[in-house]
């Protein structure tokens, strides 16, 4: 385990060094990721400017959700480039055989593929938004808020990493990764920017029990900010809900190893 982590650390350092050879390209890609996210933010701000509030929710509440979800998503997106490109880089041309030959787990090799620094644009913005909305919400935090929020971000990272792994698992069957998965990844980010309580019942159920996005973002934020949940959940449940993200990641890895890799047939000669 320790040897694996050391190896992973080494791969990350090499990846960072590699990306720093193309500074201008890195700058533009980071800027692009910053601009893409700021567009969403401008949309949210304009809506609140026009409508004032969303029932009990104010702009800074929604910004807080936005910050937690986007920070977690940016990190998971940066970690999983290898899974994202598995179909095109390894399955399509039979290169996956080479991964199987190496004396390390497939997941480790794919995680070590790249640490995509260009996602820093989204992360930076999420952090800035969190700081701003945190100041607006001063005084309303629960004493355990830092712990709960750290747990929440961890949960978000785990959940999205899990989703990206599942997306890669699908490509053992479909080769090219499926655009349908975007509904839960990018669509999930879009959904979780607003409080879960505003959505239709069926969608709430889906984002609690199937893809537990509500558990990693909505519930812990409600707990950390001492808000009353229109869905009527108890505080302890809200604070512990991010564990669903960790469980989701564990299940995704299990499916990837058991069902996915076992199903792989090489295209090799």
């Amino acid at each position: 385990m320790i040897a694996a982590l050391q190896l992973y650390g080494h791969m990350m350092v090499m990846s960072v060094k590699g990306q720093m050879q193309y500074r201008l390209s890195f700058f533009f890609l980071t800027l692009a990721s910053f601009v893409t996210t700021i567009i969403e933010l401008v949309g949210i701000w304009a809506l609140f400017d026009r409508f004032g509030s969303l029932g009990q929710w104010q702009l800074y509440h929604v910004c807080f959700f936005f910050g937690i979800v986007n920070a977690g998503f940016a990190v998971s997106d940066a970690l999983t480039t290898g899974f994202d490109q598995m179909g095109t880089l390894y399955i399509k041309n039979g290169q996956f055989d080479r991964l199987l030959l190496r004396p390390r787990s497939i997941a480790l090799q794919l995680f070590g593929h790249e640490l995509a620094l260009r996602r820093a644009g989204r992360l930076l913005q999420a952090v800035l938004v969190l700081i701003w909305s945190g100041f607006q919400l001063q005084g309303s935090f629960h004493p355990l808020a830092p712990l709960i929020l750290l747990f929440a971000v961890t949960g978000v990272i785990c959940l999205f990493v899990g989703l990206f792994i599942l997306q890669a698992t699908l490509s053992f069957w479909t080769v090219e990764s499926l655009e349908v998965m975007n509904t839960v990844t990018y669509g999930g980010v879009e959904t979780a920017q607003y409080p879960l309580a505003i959505y239709n019942r069926a969608l709430q159920w889906f984002f609690i029990w199937i893809v537990p996005l509500g558990c990693v973002a909505y519930f812990p934020v409600v707990a950390a900010l001492n808000l009353t949940d229109p869905l009527g959940t108890p505080w302890l449940f809200q604070a512990l809900a991010p564990s669903a993200g960790v469980i989701f990641l564990a299940l995704s890895l299990l499916i990837f190893n058991r069902a996915g890799i076992r199903h792989y047939t090489s295209t090799g000669s």
């Binding site: 390209s25 969403e40 809506l47 975007n182 509904t183 669509g187 505003i198 959505y199 969608l203």
Partner: protein
Amino acid sequence: MTAMLAAYTAVISARYRMLLQYRTAAFAGILTQLFWGAIKVMVMAAFFQYSTQSQPMNLAQVVTYIWLGQAFLGMLPWNTDREIEQQVREGSVVYELLRPVDVYFYWYCRTIALRTATTTLRSVPIFIVAGLMLPAMGLDAWKLSWPPDLTALLSFMVSMAGALAVAVGFTNLMHVTLVYALSGDGINRIMPSVTMIFSGMVLPLPLFPDWAQTFLNWQPFRGLVDVPFRIYMGHINGAEILPAILHQFVWGLIFIAIGRWMMQRSLRRLEVQGG
């Protein structure tokens, strides 16, 4: 002249038929867009539920605007022609210069196909689901409404041609940028987000703050989404229709003028990559 025109129409139709081949991808895309539309509709419904004062658009209009946006998403200048991108990167763009056609307009024709082919595949199912199935399921508040009268429908169709002019003109400008500037790739990654917000895709333009409206009315990207969709639902009507459509075509022509000028300038000092 007619021979020239025949060559260009042949390019459009060949590319169009080629791009129509990606049907599975298009159907996967439709699911994504239906989901996306549903989320946006629910968010807007929640905002309207708590709103007390009257807004520049009502919920039914905003919902229709959202669904139209999902139906015609492919028409927005959100991507560039991959083959053109590759040609510029590898240097095989020189072959394009040997063809007996104007490169700018040759690319312009390819872009027309790019902007229309997937849209044809994607728009009809979204009209069927959001316009017919949702009301049949009793979800009338979430449906894509039909145009109020024949004038709205006909002027919408003309305005969609105008939207195509803006979209193709701008997409081709992105192609030319690739030749013009070596870091054009980076700029092209940023522009789609900018067009998304200024077209009305992120939020219908009338819902932006009142102080921003003068600027929003002048800028080109409203011609992509805001103008045709509001004409469709009769939100832009009567004497307002003609200037709005004119606005689209004028910007479409301006993009052609800039793009062609940049193309000719860069051809004079073209440096071909690779050997």
